[in-house]
């Protein structure tokens, strides 16, 4: 399947040619590196210093300190690690459940399609955050629960994208042609349809990364996501909001990191969609995450 590689390289070149997307990729690469090497660089997110709590930005603490006197910059960097890892896990989980569901529903049609897509529609009928909250209510509060809860909300999107791809591609003659040669169903599905679906699925993965980061932060902001003391942006916003009078930067700076990360994924996703489909079709992956 070197064809997929050739196509991917072409898409990659054209995405990087867009300044916004290039900047976003650079930002995310920098952030990931920083988060991965945070320990080596000497950042310490956990040591408390009650004497120096709720300080504004200074030479010692570039982002200031929180209510327990911890370094906010260190916590923002470690928060990036939490955020990116949870989002990546959630997106992979969503794709690995959603894509096969969509492929099967679209390919076999009939009752399998009806049953699978009814379940998917049901998941879509609840606002994403509600669905995640319900999952947390069942699973309890932990990082793994947050990952699963966020991942499940992404399943319907992947199922729909994959199904739509199958339905579009099945009308294309080259899929019919493979059948006319006498290929098996699994050859059609996995050797012909799936390789031709990589681009919309990839676009969805990038776009859903931004949604997953937002949703994880929202859960932590509501106090049901990543449990303390693990640093997370949502949790920092939650606490920072209580000290808006005394230390406004406490809530503002983690929020900025969160916002930039979300915007970066969103920008790359839209660039991908523009390159692949000729126009920006990303409105918002699930338009009701609050």
């Amino acid at each position: 399947m070197s064809g997929a590689l050739v196509a991917a390289a072409r898409v990659g070149r054209r995405v990087i040619a867009k300044p916004g997307a290039a900047l976003s990729i650079a930002f995310l690469a920098g952030l990931s590196t920083l988060a991965a090497c945070a320990g080596l660089l000497g950042f310490d997110p956990l040591t408390q210093d009650v004497i120096r709590m709720l300080e504004g930005p200074s030479r010692d603490f570039l982002f200031g300190t929180d209510e327990l006197g911890r370094d906010i910059l260190a916590r923002v960097i470690y928060g990036a690690r939490t955020s990116l890892v949870t989002a990546a896990g959630a997106v992979l989980l969503a794709a690995s459940i959603g894509v096969p569901i969509g492929l099967m529903a679209g390919f076999f049609g009939g009752w399998r399609d009806v049953v699978l897509m009814r379940i998917v529609d049901l998941l879509l009928a609840l606002p994403g955050i509600m669905l995640a909250l319900a999952m947390i209510a069942v699973l309890g509060r932990s990082q793994a629960a947050a990952l699963v809860a966020v991942g499940i909300t992404g399943v319907p999107t992947f199922a729909r994208v994959a199904r739509a791809q199958v339905l579009t591609l099945r009308r294309r003659d080259f899929v019919t042609a493979v059948e006319a040669f006498g290929a098996t169903s699994s050859y059609s599905m996995f050797r012909t349809i799936l390789p031709n679906s990589w681009s919309p699925i990839l676009t969805q993965m990038v776009v859903l990364s931004s949604v997953a980061i937002l949703l994880e932060a929202a859960l932590s902001f509501l106090g049901v996501g990543i449990p303390p003391p693990t640093p997370s942006w949502g949790e920092m916003l939650r606490t920072g909001k209580e000290y808006l009078h005394d230390a406004p930067t406490f809530a503002v700076l983690p929020g900025l990191a969160l916002t930039l990360t979300i915007l970066a994924f969103d920008t790359i996703g839209r660039a991908l969609s523009t390159v692949i489909e000729g126009r920006d079709t990303v409105i918002a992956a699930r338009s009701d995450e609050r």
Binding site: M1, S2, G3, A4, V6, A7, V114, R172, D173, F174, T176, A177, V178, E179, A180, F181, G182, A183, T184, S185, Y187, T192, P195, N196
Partner: protein, 684 residues
């Protein structure tokens, strides 16, 4: 529609539309695209000017520029004078006044040219109301009047209906009514019948010609179809590579072209009125605006230039030859007549006598394919589309059966059903001595080695993820026969067989043109060495000059490999050219079948007769033909076919018996053909 009373165009009067030095460049993110390069053109009152050219020749861009309808990223230079008023650089108000008042436009695809959310009547008179020539209170009455003028039945109710309630032909009538509502001096008709079936095309062309005569307007008819031009136009302009290469009266152009492209184009088109000769394609590809040859744009494909230095270096001007004739060729005087008489330069095809085998290779009997349409909560079957409703066919080894019909007649469904790609309802399909209807995937596997399919759209039939070499090898790999059949050597041989170099095998489909992709599709279908190819409109999406290349290739392959073809097409000329026998379908049934010569020269079914008479002929000299049969109405919905004989509501011979009793498909007394008709026979 015949110009028995051809209007004598008064070319001494001032032209209503005069184009000088028109240049159109599209500016985008990439390189600027120079689509039109220095076009000069005059259109006079009371004439139909045909602009002919293949895709990318700049014909539509030229016409749309005249109406000021090009998109904003088009840079327009030169002069376009409409009724003495300059269009290029005119402000919005002037342009608005010109449109609808001085110029009207009929577009190609009637399914998208009307706003789906507004009643048709309102859309027809909207322009007149906007220009203040009509009170909105009088709109409805005027809409009814205009619809009546274009022969739409029950105009009072139709005016209030929405476009989705109109058939394709009716929509195009409504668009014509709309374009003519303001009595404009010039009508631009951009491929007005390309999206329509041939019997409906005949109606619409007749209407357009009639309305032109009544109003005295000038009509600029843009088309790729030489037949349409020959039938309707008075004067012709031929475009190639963004320029006009030749102009003249229709008779002059068709009988004695003065540009080698025109001559080559006429020779490459299959003709319904001529039999036998091998097509004479134009080699190579038409140029694209981004890749224009130096000098004369046609020189790489030209048989007269033959690489002469002047053709390669110098772009020939459009010069006056005599009277109104102009040609943009350095050697216009050397152009030979288009149609060879008797011993032409191209040898006639020597066909092997069809093998008279005791048993046909493929026998289809009373095949039915019904698609249920389900709706509602419980997915109940609300109606059934009878796509194929009793089809019977035979294809002998090594012969070509042409299966023709208009859209929705079930010809493609029949092909796919034979290939086992759609589930069948009843009937029998015998192939190579074996009943194959209802075989499962495993059963069909063996059959599919011996029977292959070539698709219409070369852009969609190749997997973009596979190199063309992998694409051709794919059927072999699926059957696990890659090494057994000869591996890479066999793939290379297949490339050569379809006229491509094996060195392109590692490239991807997007690097190839439509014609080349179709060759690759054919090579792929041949890789398993089948006995029968089902060809579904294999040349319909190709330009005329490329069509001829592919048709010739198919004929060569058939001769060399002893292949049988089931050739499915709507183009009666192509079918006539390639077939040994022909079957005509109408609404799910074969209505007539016989040897090519019999079906084309002595058709017995009224539908065949109407269909043949509706085909425009690529020759201005054959105008005194017997009166055309213009069928009423359009093809009914295959979910609600008429009772009895499906054709009876449109038939000029229908009797009470036809309304109640479906005719059997049987031999016709006094004719070698088979037909399904209660009243078969010659003539209208």
């Amino acid at each position: 529609m015949h110009r028995s009373d051809r209007t004598g165009t008064d070319q001494t009067a001032a032209p209503v539309l005069s184009i000088r030095g028109l240049d159109v460049t599209f500016l985008g993110s990439g390189k600027p695209i120079h689509a039109v390069r220095g076009v000069d053109l005059d259109v006079f009152e009371n004439e139909v000017l045909g602009i002919v050219g293949e895709s990318g020749s700049g014909k539509s861009v030229t016409a749309l520029a005249a109406a000021g309808l090009l998109p904003r990223n088009a840079l327009i230079e030169g002069s376009i004078r409409l009724n003495g008023q300059e269009v290029v650089g005119a402000d919005d108000d002037t342009l608005r006044r010109l449109r609808g008042q001085d110029i009207g436009v009929v577009f190609q695809d009637p399914s998208t040219t009307l706003n789906p959310l507004l009643p048709v009547g309102r859309q027809i008179v909207e322009g007149e109301i906007a220009h203040g020539r009509l009170a909105s209170s009088a709109g409805q009455a005027r809409a009814v009047e205009l619809l009546r003028e274009v022969d739409i039945a029950d105009p009072d109710n139709r005016a209030l209906q929405y476009p989705f309630q109109f058939s394709g032909g009716m929509r195009q009538r409504a668009v014509i009514a709309m374009a003519m509502a303001g009595r404009p001096r010039v009508i631009i008709a951009d491929e007005p019948t390309t999206a329509l079936d041939v019997t409906v095309q005949a109606q619409v062309l007749a209407l357009l010609a009639e309305r032109q005569k009544q109003t005295g307007a000038a009509v600029v008819l843009i088309t790729h179809d030489l037949g349409v031009v020959a039938e309707v136009a008075h004067r012709v302009a031929v475009m190639y590579g963004g320029r006009i290469v030749e102009t003249g009266t229709v008779r002059e152009i068709f009988s004695q072209p003065r540009h080698p492209y025109t001559a080559a184009l006429l020779r490459s088109a299959p003709r319904i009125d001529v039999t036998g000769d091998r097509l004479d394609p134009i080699p190579g590809q038409p140029p694209t605006p981004t890749d224009m040859p130096t000098g004369c744009a046609f020189h790489p494909r030209c048989a007269i230039g033959e690489g002469r230095q002047k053709c390669r270096a110098e772009e020939p001007p459009l010069r006056i030859l005599d009277g109104t004739r102009r040609s943009a060729c350095h050697y216009a005087e050397e152009v030979p007549p288009p149609f060879r008489s008797g011993s032409g330069s191209v040898p006639a095809i020597v066909r092997p006598a069809p093998v008279s085998a005791p048993e046909p290779l493929l026998t289809v009997d009373d095949l039915r394919v019904h698609f249920p349409i389900r709706a509602g909560l419980l997915k109940r079957v609300v109606r059934t589309v009878r796509a194929a409703d009793g089809v019977s066919l035979r294809v002998a080894p090594g012969e070509t059966l042409g299966l023709v019909g208009e859209s929705g007649c079930g010809k493609t469904t029949t092909g796919r059903a034979i290939m086992g790609l759609v589930p069948t309802t009843s009937g029998s399909i015998r192939f190579d001595g074996q009943e194959i209807r209802g075989l499962d995937r495993t059963g069909m596997r063996g059959v599919r080695r011996r029977m292959q399919y070539v698709f219409q759209d070369p852009f969609s039939s190749l997997n973009p993820m596979l190199s063309v070499g992998e694409a051709i090898a794919e059927p072999l790999r699926i059957h696990g026969l890659y090494d057994e059949m000869g591996g890479a050597a066999w793939i290379a041989r297949l490339f050569e067989m379809v006229g491509l170099s094996p060195s392109v095998a590692h490239r991807y489909p997007r690097e190839f043109s439509g014609g080349q992709k179709q060759r690759i599709g054919i090579a792929r279908a041949l890789s398993l060495k089948p006995k029968l190819l089902i060809l579904d409109e294999p040349v319909a999406s190709l330009d005329v000059s490329i069509q001829a290349q592919v048709v010739n290739l198919l004929q060569d392959l058939q001769r060399d490999l002893k292949l049988a073809y089931l050739f499915i097409a709507h183009d009666l000329s192509v079918v006539k050219h390639i077939s040994d026998r022909v079957a005509v379908m109408y609404l799910g049934r074969v209505v007539e079948e016989g040897a090519k010569h019999d079906v084309y020269s002595a058709p017995v079914h009224p539908y065949t007769q109407a269909l043949l008479s509706a085909v425009p002929v690529v020759d201005a000299a054959t105008q005194g033909r017997t009166a055309r049969i213009v069928l009423e109405g359009e093809i009914p919905d295959p979910a609600k076919p008429p009772s009895g004989c499906h054709f009876h509501p449109r038939c000029f011979r229908a009797t009470d018996r036809c309304r109640t009793e479906a005719p059997a498909f049987a031999p016709v007394p006094g004719s070698p053909s088979l037909a399904a008709c209660h009243h078969p026979g010659a003539g209208a």
